[in-house]
């Protein structure tokens, strides 16, 4: 069965693991798209690059447009200015033509000669800054040539300064501005260019320009401006013929375009930045440069062309501007774009990094989760393994122990017997250890269930003390227990587990203590919690801080006088406790029980104080960890597995309490724990008090005793035990005090005087014996008080001396226990009542045999073998056994009236199980009871009893506590585990049948 449940547990663990793995599927978005992360990063970077590029382009474009606009506006401005200036000059030349026509042709004789012309033109030169000079050439037809030559005394020459050949007409320069003297009498029509110009000028009547050429004087590029002069006023709409006919001559002048433009540009801002070229575009395919460098340097990529209108419709001029330097790299745009890209890159990288990190963390998380699950599973597996192995070891160990027991029953030599006994002891120790491990495993598997039964706490503490009394006596350690009166006599809880904790703690203390004392104290936790002030807390585990040492002599007010680790346990506090509670009679317990009956729980505080080697500070935090000891040498010195404390801690926690400790190396340790117990109800209490109460004999009630002890704590312990026996106690610190009170005719006439060995030894020198003798006659009327010596350990010599010194009566060896004191007192007082002689649990086969004698028992089991064994076992106890192979058969047999005294019921049966059968039996009984109530005592044999109630005990191999609860629920009275063990069976049966024969007898 055990195996089966373990298996189930296995399943559940596996299930849990699966569940936890299942949660892993909940991936986040990032996790599920992790493969896309690098691609997303690349995409992002590309996107950022594209955006940066477009921003750069946009900014660059804007720059270019602005540059172009600037160029355009600058170019237009220059063109306009040039044109304006040109026009002004042209106008002025026009004015000159009018001057010539007016003064030369309309006046007769001419009012103009060379000097006048020269003077006038020179003085008005500022009006024509662009013209390096002007000259006038009259139109001379060939017929008039000679006349003209004669008249003006010059010869018409060609450009090459040769006398002109005969032509249709000539245009010799007649008047000229001073600097132009070299053109005098040159026939302007002799040059092809000039001739065309002249012809065009007179045909259009407007200013015309030649194509650009190098000027004679300055070698600058220039053009020649020609204007016709008419003899008569022309009508506004004159024809070409009319104009040609009316033409009298021509005024012309060279334009120094280069210096003109140079001057012009010099006046304007920004002329460094741009290059200006002026072209004559008359022949579009072959532009002639008028200004500017022929070499195409500068920024060729950006041009701006502006039309120039110099008033000559035949010739087209154009100004072309370029930037001097190529557009500078657009740094702003570049850096803006670059930084944007870098920022984008960084952001992308950060996001990518974050995502990668998230993925990694999540991966780690999942990994950890998995590991955690596995670790937990491993832990469970470990516990299971421990449980299994322990279980498996137990079985062969039982065999070994059984065999050893058999061996010890045979005839053995003393050496053999010794070996065998040692082996048996070791085996038992091993079993105990395995049980501990099993406990631990059970606790870890949360399978440990605490019982809830009424038990006597004080008796258990006495038991534990008696366990260690031998050891403590050998070591000379004072071992004592004190239970506060406020603690109820019976509490509801698990006595076995409580005992286990106490045993463990005391066992540890005994193990680690070589001198001094071990003191177990139990009181109500609420009380001490209030009393514990903050000042004390600071002392805890604090180390060497003083304040514990209260008496000047270096003695401490503890049980043995040695310093204890926990200052709170000092006498001051202890006295406080006792004072607060008062040492009244035992009756107060009952009162208190009554008054506190309301609340259901009681929290007890248990302290185990020792003056041992203490726990090293470094090891203190590991104390409650399983398999941990202070250090490895500890286990070498003292043995043990280090599992006990961890079990104790678990058990305490199961009891809804806490365990803690205060320890100072070389001073001692104090372990304290709280535990919550149920209080028993008042009405139950009385019952139990009768049936189950301590085995303390009541014969000492009303006796009076004096305890002579200089140590108040120790005295209080003695007093506690005596009070439990109902003895009234007076304390005195020395024998002198005690005897003096007695002498003073105090009403308190002690029947017993208990003297601590220390007091006796110290008092011996100061005439102790005499004092005692003094005392003795004082008790004249009554019997003399009995003298009892209390000692932890006593040598033979001392014993003899004590006997000689008046302690003839007895010596009580510590540790004190109420029952032991009772036994001693009984011996001393030789009380007549000897009733307690045989009150122990009856043992032995003879008793077993009688237990069920005459009882008729029904065994219900579907398994024949089981039935037979059960029957056999019950017969052994003297019962008459009947069997039923099924629940149905059992029900038939149990139809009332029946004569069975008890029924053993298998639980797992086909058709109808034990629970159901029991329920039916109870139904039948209640029906019968009703009938009986109604119809009076008609059924013979059962009439005496109040009610029909057949004790039904379950038989099952299932030892889980829950099954037991189930049994009780359906009306069963008890529970026997299968297969039967004699002791076990007896114990259960005794519950039902023990009291009856005794009370009946």
């Amino acid at each position: 069965m055990g195996l089966k449940t373990r298996k189930n547990h296995c399943h559940s663990v596996a299930l849990k693991v699966n569940e936890q793995m299942g949660t892993k599927i909940g991936y986040t978005f990032i996790q599920s798209n992790r493969a896309w992360l690098p691609k997303a990063l690349v995409l992002w970077i590309m996107g950022m690059a594209f955006i940066s590029m477009s921003i750069y382009r946009g900014m660059d474009e804007e720059n270019k447009i602005r540059r172009k606009e600037v160029l355009g506006s600058m170019c237009d401005q220059r063109a306009r200015m040039l044109q304006d200036q040109f026009n002004v000059t042209v106008n002025h030349v026009h004015a000159l033509t009018i001057l010539v026509s007016t003064f030369h042709y309309f006046k007769n004789p001419s009012a103009l000669d060379q000097d006048t012309f020269a003077e006038y033109t020179t003085r008005t030169a500022f009006e024509r800054p662009l013209l390096s000079g002007v000259a006038y050439a009259p139109r001379v037809v060939d017929a008039q040539r000679e006349q003209f030559e004669r008249q003006h005394g010059m010869t018409i020459t060609t450009m090459k300064s040769e006398p002109s050949p005969i032509r249709d007409e000539y245009a010799p320069v007649m008047f000229y501005q001073e600097p132009m003297s070299h053109v005098k009498s040159l026939d302007m029509m002799s040059g092809e260019e000039d001739r065309e110009n002249i012809l065009r000028a007179r045909a259009t009547g407007k200013a015309v320009l030649t194509r650009p050429f190098r000027l004679l004087g300055s070698h600058h590029l220039g053009v020649v401006l020609t204007f016709p002069v008419y003899k008569s006023k022309l009508p506004p709409r004159s024809t070409v013929e009319e104009r040609i006919k009316a033409t009298a001559g021509y005024i012309g002048g060279p334009f120094d375009v280069e210096s003109l433009v140079e001057n012009l540009l010099g006046q304007l801002a920004g002329n460094q930045a741009i290059l200006v070229n002026v072209y004559d575009m008359t022949n579009a395919s072959d532009p002639l440069i008028m200004y500017g460098d022929q070499n195409q340097d500068g920024d060729m990529s950006l041009l701006h062309e502006s039309e120039l209108d110099f008033g000559d419709s035949f010739r087209k001029h154009k100004m072309i501007c370029r930037y001097h330097q190529k557009a500078s790299t657009p740094w702003t745009a570049l850096t803006t774009a670059f930084f944007l890209f870098v920022i984008g890159l960084l952001v992308g990288y950060i996001l990518y990094g974050a995502a990668i990190h998230i993925v990694k963390v999540e991966d780690d998380f999942h990994k950890m989760q998995e590991l955690k699950v596995r670790a937990e599973a491993a832990d469970v597996a470990k516990s299971q393994f421990l449980a299994t192995v322990s279980h498996e070891i137990r079985t062969p160990m039982n065999g070994i122990l059984g065999m050893l027991a058999l061996l010890l029953d045979t005839d053995l030599s003393s050496t053999q017997r010794d070996y065998a006994q040692t082996a048996q002891i070791c085996g038992k120790a091993l079993i105990a250890l395995i049980n501990e491990v099993l406990d631990r495993a059970k606790i870890e598997a949360r399978k440990l269930e605490l019982e809830a039964v009424l038990f006597n706490l004080r008796a258990i503490l006495d038991d534990v003390l008696s366990l260690f009394s031998e050891k403590s006596r050998n070591k000379g350690i004072e071992l004592a227990v004190f239970v506060s009166d406020k603690v109820p006599e019976f509490v509801l809880g698990d006595p076995g587990r409580f005992r286990q904790i106490i045993t463990n703690l005391v066992g540890n203390s005994v193990k680690f203590t070589e001198r001094g004392h071990i003191f177990v104290k139990v009181h109500l936790a609420e009380r001490t919690m209030v009393k514990t002030d903050a000042k004390d807390e600071t002392l805890l585990n604090g180390g060497t801080e003083e304040g514990v040492c209260r008496s000047g002599t270096g003695q401490f007010n503890t049980l043995s006088g040695l310093e204890a680790a926990d200052g709170r346990n000092s006498w001051d506090k202890f006295k406080h406790l006792i004072d607060a509670e008062g040492f009244q009679s035992n009756a107060s317990i009952i009162n208190m029980m009554a008054s506190n009956g309301g609340s259901e729980d009681v929290t007890l505080m248990v302290c185990v104080e020792d003056t041992g080697i203490g726990i090293p500070l470094s090891a203190q935090e590991r104390v409650f960890m399983p398999f941990m000891q202070a250090d490895s040498s500890t286990s070498r010195h003292y043995g043990g597995t280090g599992i006990g404390l961890s079990i104790s801690k678990c058990l305490v926690e199961l009891m809804r309490g806490q365990i803690s400790f205060v320890s100072r190396p070389q001073v001692g340790s104090t372990f304290s724990f709280t535990a919550v117990f149920g209080k028993c109800k008042e009405y139950v209490f009385e019952d139990i008090k009768q049936s189950k109460s301590e085995d303390l004999p009541p014969g000492f009630k009303g006796l009076k005793a004096v305890v002579v002890d200089e140590k108040p704590v120790r005295a209080a312990v003695t007093q506690y035990h005596l009070n439990r026996l109902g003895i009234m106690v007076k304390m005195s610190s020395s024998i002198k005090d005690a005897s003096s009170t007695a002498k003073n005719g105090d009403k308190f006439q002690p029947d017993i005087i208990l003297v601590e060995k220390d007091c006796w030894i110290s008092g011996e020198d100061s005439g102790f014996n005499a004092q005692l003798l003094d005392w003795k006659p004082n008790g004249h009327v009554f019997k003399l008080p009995k003298l009892i010596l209390l000692a932890t350990n006593i040598s033979k010599d001392e014993c003899d001396k004590a006997k000689a010194g008046g302690f003839a009566d007895t010596v009580i060896m510590k540790p004190l226990r109420a029952s032991m004191i009772a036994a001693c007192l009984q011996q001393v007082l030789s009380t007549e009542n000897k009733r307690q002689a045989g009150r122990g649990v009856p043992n032995g086969s003879s008793f077993h045999q009688g237990l069920l004698r005459g009882k008729k028992i029904l065994v219900v089991d579907d398994n024949g073998v089981n039935r037979m064994v059960a029957a056999g076992a019950l017969k052994k106890f003297g019962a008459t056994v009947e069997c039923a192979a099924s629940a149905k058969a059992a029900l038939d047999k149990l139809q009332s009236p029946h004569c069975f005294d008890a029924c053993f019921m298998d639980i797992q049966m086909p058709e109808m199980d034990g629970f159901e059968a029991t329920r039916r039996i109870r139904q039948m009984e209640s029906k019968a009871n009703e009938q009986m109530m109604n119809g009076g005592s008609s059924v013979d044999g059962t009439a005496k009893r109040d009610e029909l109630h057949l004790p039904i005990l379950a038989m099952t191999a299932d030892v889980i506590h829950a099954t037991f609860d189930e049994c009780l629920k359906c009306g069963m009275d008890g529970y026997v585990s299968k297969p039967f063990e004699e002791e076990n069976l007896y114990r259960e049966l005794a519950k039902f049948f023990k009291s009856k024969p005794l009370s009946g007898a």
Partner: protein
């Protein structure tokens, strides 16, 4: 053979049964129940156990031969066998039964079959051993000695 020697042999044999785990404490308990008023108690119980077990084993074999196996029935048979074997202290049968029931729960046919074989083996073993034991006891009784088993109680 001398009676004392026979008694020693019986004891040794018994011990070996315990060491091999064929029997456990429960068998001792059983022997304790045997006394003058009930001198053949152990033998009776054991022979009942044999009869019972053989019946159960047959039932089990049959049940597992069926095309559709009624695991509930198999389980109840095994439960019976486990109960009776633990009652007489036949520990190895009991342990085999525990494994058997686990397979039953899982409805693992192969596991059940192999367990059945194992149980049968264990049963044969126990039967042989116990029969030898009883034979030895009978020999001792026949030789006029007493069975030293009574000393086993502890």
């Amino acid at each position: 053979m001398e009676v004392g020697q026979m008694q020693r042999r019986l004891l040794e044999y018994t011990k070996s049964l315990f060491m091999e785990g064929v029997l456990d404490n429960q068998f001792l308990q059983l022997q304790q129940l045997q006394d003058e008023s009930n001198p053949d108690f152990v033998a009776e119980v054991v022979s009942l156990f044999f009869a019972d077990s053989e019946r159960l084993l047959n039932d089990l074999t049959r049940a597992l031969d069926q095309p559709t196996i009624d695991f509930k029935m198999v389980d109840s048979h095994v439960h019976q066998l486990k109960g009776s074997s633990s009652s007489i202290g036949a520990e190895r049968i009991k342990n085999a039964c525990v494994a058997f029931r686990n397979f039953c729960e899982e409805q693992n046919i192969e596991g059940c079959m192999s367990c059945l074989q194992q149980v049968k083996q264990e049963y044969c073993l126990v039967k042989n051993k116990l029969e030898t034991l009883f034979r030895m006891e009978q020999q001792i009784v026949a030789a006029g000695g007493s069975i030293p088993m009574m000393e086993l109680s502890f």
